[in-house]
């Protein structure tokens, strides 16, 4: 009986996390089209309304729902001689790690589904699993274009995972813990205590690697919609394609959440330690600060897509292997020295845990 109640509470928590995540994914697509539209002096989607009070004034607000319906009713084409079983489960394999990683994300103090000691490692393991979706999709399609696209994106994802892992090592050293709640707690103090300042190179590398890892512009040679048809998902249509799309956007939101937790103090208020402003904003719940910080990163994603030209493939590989990995290695040594000399204000307190 007790086990049953436990399982039901866990399932409820999962629903409470996943439903807003899926709504967030849907409206991130709308935000992307609107923001890029305005940046290119267009309007973006402005036809579909939601027939609800208050919301029916916001034009285009029903667009994600209309898109989802359209994709649901489209035909799923199975290529000839494709491996049917693997072809159908490949989108699920890329989607499952993207949502499984949310189990250890703390949304505010104590608001976490699974408060495990190895949270950071778990996140790394889950993000490294998502490359299987890409590999299986390209192979099972039985198409040379899909297979070549697979090789391109899988090589890119694997390369940037290394730089990302080293950036996380820096965070682990600075916080003295692998638990994400402890990492946020270690940044307590003020805006200047957050890890973005002592780990500035790692912060930049983490976010850029995150963009490359999710195959987004300017590293989206896998998709390259203005140059080639598409990458590993060239044979996919309908709902199967939509699941790849969902996984990509869920991963974007995950990277944004992790970057804000590890480098921008997570749910901590940015006005901490400032005399007048801190009590003024003390009533704001922590999750709002986290969501605000995540929005900054998501906006950066969209902004860079509208701004930068696409990287050439050999330049992507050079950036990952010859620039990012050496910088992270050097900065890990720098952090080690800083911890050894107890550099204030970040490392003067002995790391607990």
């Amino acid at each position: 009986m007790q086990t049953l109640i436990y399982v039901i509470t866990i399932l409820l928590y999962i629903v409470v996390i996943l439903v807003p995540l899926m709504v967030g994914v849907a409206y991130l697509t709308l935000a992307e089209r609107k923001i890029i539209g305005y940046m290119q002096v267009r309007i973006g989607p402005n036809r579909v309304n939601l027939p609800l009070p208050l919301l029916n004034k916001l034009r285009g607000f029903g667009q994600p729902i209309a898109d989802a319906f359209k994709l649901m009713f489209k035909e799923i084409v199975l290529p000839t001689h494709s491996n049917r079983f693997l072809f159908i489960i490949a989108p699920t394999i890329s989607f499952a790690p993207a949502i499984a990683a949310w189990a250890v994300i703390p949304f505010a103090e104590g608001w976490v589904l699974s408060d495990i000691n190895v949270g950071l490692l778990y996140i790394l393991a889950m993000t490294s699993m998502s490359v299987y979706g890409i590999l299986i999709a390209g192979w099972a399609s039985n198409s040379k274009y899909a297979l070549l696209g697979t090789l391109r994106s899988a090589a890119q994802v694997v390369s940037y995972e290394i730089a990302m892992g080293f950036a996380l090592v820096g965070v682990l050293m600075a916080a003295g813990s692998l638990n994400l709640s402890d990492i946020v707690a270690a940044q307590n103090g003020s805006f200047l205590h957050w890890f973005w300042l002592p780990l500035l190179p790692l912060f930049a590398i983490y976010f850029i690697s995150g963009v490359a890892e999710t195959n987004r512009a300017p590293f989206d040679v896998a998709e390259g919609e203005s140059e080639i048809v598409a990458g590993f998902h060239v044979e996919y249509s309908g709902m199967l394609f939509a699941i790849f799309f969902l996984a990509e956007y869920a991963n974007m939101i995950l990277i944004a959440a992790l970057a804000s937790l590890m480098f921008l103090g997570g749910w901590l208020s940015p006005f901490q330690g400032i005399p007048v402003l801190e009590p003024m904003f003390a009533w704001v719940p922590g999750i709002f600060w986290l969501l605000g910080k995540m929005s900054i990163f998501l906006f950066l994603y969209l902004w860079s897509r509208a701004t930068f030209p696409r990287y050439r493939y050999d330049q992507i590989m050079r950036l990952g292997w010859k620039v990012f990995i050496p910088i992270t290695l050097v900065w890990i040594v720098v952090i080690g020295v800083a911890i050894l000399v107890k550099l204030p204000p970040w490392f003067d307190i002995v790391a607990k845990g």
């Binding site: 693997l86 190895v118 490692l121 778990y122 393991a125 699993m129």
Partner: protein
């Protein structure tokens, strides 16, 4: 009770997947079943509360080693029927080796069972990861560093073996590419207009 059920579920999956690795015809399927095998054994380690080892197994073997394996296997287009021809001829050797490994494993497991009493397992406040790290960098520092050096040597050897023959390959040098100016590539010449005919 629940833990036992979960254990049996993952153990059954593990054995089934390991069996399929050697019986399935398609090498890509075999590699994917091997991934499932690693994943199930990671789950069993989690049941033993060895969370660091379990996640490291997923991270290293599933996330990195098997991805590269799949990369290679996907690129091969081998007809595997000729490779199976010598099956009957090599069967006795294979059986002998398998039997030897089985005997060794039985010996190790029975010996180890006599040593470790499950009731003497110490539970401390320290996390699994921290304990492993402390032991690895104090008591076992030399074996750890030596293993790292051996792996580094192996990596360098593999790179040296593959890149030896290809020193005629053309490389793009970005540092030269970015200093290119308009004058290097464009030449404006004045010439008389072509007569109309």
């Amino acid at each position: 009770m629940t833990t036992t059920l979960i254990f049996y579920f993952f153990a059954a999956t593990l054995i089934f997947a390991a069996f399929r690795v050697i019986t399935v015809r398609n090498p890509v399927h075999a590699a994917l079943f091997l991934v499932l095998t690693f994943f199930s054994s990671a789950a069993i380690w989690l049941l033993l509360q060895a969370e660091f080892l379990a996640i490291a197994l997923v991270l290293v073997y599933v996330g990195a080693v098997m991805v590269l394996f799949l990369f290679v296997v996907m690129m091969l287009d081998i007809n595997f029927a000729p490779l199976r021809e010598g099956f009957a001829k090599h069967l006795p050797v294979g059986l002998t080796v398998g039997f030897l490994i089985l005997i060794e494993m039985v010996m190790v497991v029975t010996h180890w069972k006599g040593l470790a009493n499950p009731s003497t397992v110490v539970t401390t406040e320290m996390s699994n990861t921290k304990m492993l790290g402390q032991v690895l960098y104090t008591v076992y520092a030399y074996p750890f560093e030596i293993a790292a050096a051996i792996l580094l040597v192996a990596m360098i050897a593999a790179i040296a073996l593959t890149s030896r023959l290809h020193n005629r390959a053309k490389y793009q040098k970005p540092e030269q590419q970015v200093v290119v100016r308009r004058e290097d590539r464009i030449r404006l010449i004045s010439m008389p207009a072509e007569p109309k005919d």
